[in-house]
Each structure stands twice: as C-alpha cells, then as structure tokens.
C-alpha cells in the first residue's frame, strides 16, 4: 500500500467501514480515486455504493447514529476526510455533490448557482455574476437559461434542473465531484446530455459517480468498481471490467445473471 502522496491519486479509501447504528453497511473498502478521471461505482441496490459515495462529503454526519472506521485520504494535502478533527463543512466546501433526483432550490436560477458562493461570504455582484455564468457554461446550460436567470429553477425541465444542480456544484470549483445516480430520473436524451457533460468535466475535476445503469458506467467512466453487500469486489479499468472481469460475481452482475 502506498503511504506517500501519489500524484496520480485524488483520494484513496483505506480500510473504510461504515455503520448505521449496529448495521455495517461498508466492509473494509480499499480503493483509489484517480485524479481527473471518472470512477464509476456499480452494484445491485443496497450494495452500499451510495453509502460509500456519501462518505466522501460526510453526508452521513447529518444524521445521528452513523459511524465511520478507516480513512479516506484526500490528496494532494493527504487529509483524512473522515477524521473527527476535520470539519464536515470544510470537506463539503472542497467536494461537490449532485443528487439522484434534481434538487434545485425553489429560488431563481441565478440564486441556485450563486448559493454556494454566498455561503462562502461572496457579496460582490460582479464576481457573483461572473462565477454564475462560468458555472452555467461549464454545466452546458448557459445558452438555455441566460435570458431567464431570474426565473424559478423548478420550472426548468428535469434534465435542465439536473444540469443546474451540476452548475451549482461547479460554481465553487470543487476538487472532486460526486454524482449519486444523476440520471435515474431523466429521459434518455437528458441522460445523454449529462453523460456528455461528465465527459467534458473530467478535464478539470475528478469525478466519482454511482450508477445503476451499467451501460452508463461503461460509457462515462475510466475506472469501475463493483460493490456487493458492502464490499468492494473488484476495481479496475472500465475497459477491462466490462470485457474481462476477474471476479465471477462481477461477471454475473454485469452480464445480468442471477447469482
């Protein structure tokens, strides 16, 4: 195991376990997250992939009775994201998240994107305007909304809402972007747009994406991890996982076989 900072890694889970009360949801996960790459997490429902994803920005801290063991090392500064000394808010300021269902705030399009900046105390109108535009461009939605930034975000279509949520996460320049089944509520066209966007985004941000759509994992990711019953069964390059998985359980899952 590499202990020193590896320049190619953005993060690394080391023997990560997670408990909901007395239920162990993650069992000793070891996994690298490569810098400026897309890593996909696949596995059947309840395998812990979302739980794992939500450990990265300490979302579990919002609810009582949750407990982590092990570490998630975040590079280049080699911070342990799960350390009790590290404030979860600091973690969330560095790591953005996009949720399963588009969850824009019932505010204007502009305010949705500006929110992360306001939370950080940004008040300068010009700076806000610039960063909002930049984020909306980055999320490939600028052309659709530039003339109606003051419209309410929930009036956008589902696909637009999700891209708006991506813009909201991008506005604060996160180092790592977490996607929790971002297209499960979208139609195929909107899904395609999000996938295209993910491909564009990896030029500037590391991405970790949970998906129950294996074809999506195959299309968008550079690395894929297969999880089952809270364990990481197999991690590898996506090309290899989808053509020649090493573990029979991975094989059965991605070929759609019953165990």
């Amino acid at each position: 195991m590499q202990i020193q900072e590896n320049p190619a890694l953005k993060a690394e889970a080391r023997n990560l376990s997670f408990f909901y009360g007395n239920t162990q949801a993650l069992k000793g996960i070891n996994m690298p997250i490569h810098d400026k790459k897309v890593t996909a997490l696949i596995g059947p429902s309840g395998c812990g992939k979302s739980t794992y994803l939500r450990s990265f920005n300490r979302m579990h801290d919002l609810y009582p009775g949750n407990r982590y063991e092990g570490e998630i090392r975040f590079f280049p500064d080699n911070t342990n994201l799960l350390s009790p000394e590290v404030d979860p808010i600091e973690v969330r300021m560095r790591i953005g998240m996009v949720f399963q269902k588009p969850n824009p705030f019932p505010k204007t399009i502009y305010e949705n994107v500006a929110y992360g900046l306001r939370v950080r105390g940004e008040r300068n109108k010009r700076t806000l305007d610039d960063k909002v535009e930049h984020a909306l461009r980055g999320a490939a939605i600028w052309d659709e909304v530039k003339d109606r930034l003051q419209d309410l975000a929930p009036n956008l279509s589902g696909g637009q809402q999700q891209r708006l949520c991506i813009a909201r996460a991008l506005a604060t320049d996160p180092e790592l972007l977490l996607f929790d089944e971002p297209t499960s509520a979208l139609d195929p066209i909107a899904t395609g747009a999000i996938e295209e966007l993910v491909h564009e985004l990896k030029k500037r941000v590391t991405i970790l994406i949970v998906t129950h759509n294996m074809q999506q994992a195959a299309r968008v990711s550079d690395y894929t991890a297969y999880m089952y019953l809270g364990e990481m069964i197999e991690f590898g390059k996506t090309d290899e996982i989808f053509l020649k998985p090493n573990d029979k359980r991975t094989e059965d899952y991605i070929t759609g076989r019953m165990g």
Binding site: P106, R168, T172
Partner: protein, 311 residues
C-alpha cells in the same frame, strides 16, 4: 383464462358499486348535518342581531341602554391583544420549532419535550388563565392589562405555532436540506436561506389559525380579570391621555385595562334586560366574521406563497 363470465363480472361490479353509493349518501348526510347546524347558528344570530348591525354599533362604547351600546372598546381590545399575542408567540414558537427540527438530537430529552408540547396544546385554557394570573398579573406586576392578556393567549397558542412550524419544516424534502449542506453551508445558513423561507407559508397559516382560536377565548381573559365594561380606548401613542393630560408613550397602551369581544358578548348575555340579547347576537356575528376572515386570510396567504415554492 378468466374463470368468471361477463355476467358474473358485471354482477360483482354492481354489488361493489351499490356499497359505494350507500357510503357516499351516508357521507353527504353527515356533512349536511354539520353544515346545517352551523348555518342555523349563524343565521339565528344574524336574524336576532340584524337590527343592531350598523356602523354606529362598531363605533360606540358599551352603554347601559341596549340600543346605544356598541363594540368599539371590544374589537379594538381584541385586535390589540392579538397583536401582543402574535408578537410574543411567533418568534418563540418558530424558534422552538426550528430548534427541535433542525438542531436538537433525537434523544430522551427531546422526546419528553415533544410529549410536553403535545400535552400543552391539550391543557384547558382556564388553567392558562390561572397561571397568568399568578405570573403576569401579580408576580411580574403587569396587572389586568392588554400585555397580560396577550402573553396569556401567546402561551395558549404557542404549542399550535410550534407544531405548525415543525410540520411545515418536515414538509421540506430532505434533498433540499442535503443540497444546501452539500455545497458547504452551515445549519444556520441552511435555515436562513431555505428552511425558514420555505416553511413560512405553513408557519403563517399555523399562526393565523392559532390567533383565530385565541380571539375567541374567554375563560383565561376573565381569569386574569379583564373588565367587562370599558367606556374608553387604550391611549394612542403620543396623544394626551384623558386622565391627567400627560402625553402617552409609545407602549403605554399595553398596560391599559381593556375588554375583548367574547367578554363583551358574555357580559351582554348575562344582562337581565332581553334587549341586550340582540347586541350579543350582533357581536357574536361580528366575532364569527373576524374568525372566518382570519381563516380566509390564512388560506389565501398559503396559496399565494406556495405558488413559488415547489420541488
């Protein structure tokens, strides 16, 4: 495949629909009974009080002569008491509700608090009156004033406001809260930018419904010793008071003696002269109108504010 013939299926559906019809009829009858009683009550009051319902009625003080009696001091007193009640109950109740929903950890302490709040709502209003008599009137020395009455009623509706706040907050989907926290917001930022604005329609509705209940309360107000016969209004700020000619301060009115609508009605009904009955009926009709318009306001406000909040 199907083991039933078309006739059998039709007979089955017919039987099922028969029960539908019976229940529907029953429901309409029950509803009609309730509505009928209300209409009878309101109608009866209107008929009996109609002769007194004119503009003078609203702008005259109570008098020993029924025909010259009005409800001026009563409705002004009711409005002022409601103002104090709202100012006291809303910040307290909303803050408590937000704390319980957003900050408090779920443990036995919060469980006990929850049970107590629920119980508070069930405490008879007269008990609040007794409590207020001891605390506000004597211990704090507020006397038999608008302030005492307002604070008493504030205590009375506090549980309603807290529960309404909590319900309104719970109606906000978890994903909105998570969406806010995920960009690095603190709990307070999340409350300030999201939880409070989005729960405002629900909170306001709860507040108004609480006030509508408070405006009709008689027992606690009598307990703290509201006067039943008041022929003056509380001092208007910065005007000369009638008694010694001194200028009234901004908040002098809160310490003024007062009466309220239900007490005025109670007073008139207990008069031996039957002529006052018409006054009571008319005042009752006005009070009814006040309550209904408050509820109407609540519905309208909720509708207006909810239009822009959806997820």
């Amino acid at each position: 495949m199907n083991s039933m013939t078309t006739e059998q299926i039709r007979a089955l559906i017919a039987r099922g629909k028969m029960k539908d019809t019976i229940f529907q009829a029953l429901g309409i009858i029950c509803l009609a009974i309730g509505l009928l009683v209300i209409f009878l009550l309101v109608g009866d009051m209107l008929i009996r009080g109609l002769e007194r319902l004119n503009l003078d009625f609203f702008f005259q003080y109570a008098s020993r002569r029924a025909a010259q009696s009005g409800i001026l001091s009563a409705w002004v007193g009711s409005l002022l008491v409601m103002l104090v009640t709202a100012v006291a109950a809303v910040p307290l109740g909303v803050a408590a509700g937000i704390y319980l929903e957003e900050y408090a950890r779920r443990n036995w302490v919060t469980d006990i608090i929850e049970i107590n709040i629920t119980n508070l709502a069930a405490v008879p209003s007269i008990v609040y009156g007794l409590l207020a008599l001891g605390i506000f009137v004597y211990a704090f020395g507020f006397g038999q004033s608008i302030l005492s009455a307002g604070l008493t009623l504030a205590l009375l509706i506090l549980p309603i406001v807290i529960v309404a706040t909590r319900e309104a907050i719970r109606a906000i989907p978890a994903m909105i809260r998570e969406g806010s926290m995920a960009v690095g917001a603190t709990r307070w930022q999340t409350c300030r930018y999201h939880i409070i604005p989005y729960s405002m329609p629900g909170i306001l509705t709860g507040v108004i419904i609480g006030l509508a209940r408070a405006i009709g309360e008689t027992a606690p107000i009598i307990t703290i010793g509201a006067l039943t016969f008041i022929a003056f209004l509380p001092p208007v700020p910065f005007t000369a008071t009638g008694v010694d000619g001194a200028t009234a301060g901004l908040f002098d009115w809160v310490m003024s003696p007062f009466t309220v609508m239900p007490i005025q009605i109670f007073n008139w009904t207990s008069r031996p002269d039957p002529a006052f009955e018409a006054n009571a009926a008319a005042a009752g009709f006005v009070l009814m109108g006040m309550v209904l318009s408050m509820n109407g306001l609540a519905i309208w406000l909720r509708y207006r504010m909810r239009k822009n909040i959806k997820w």
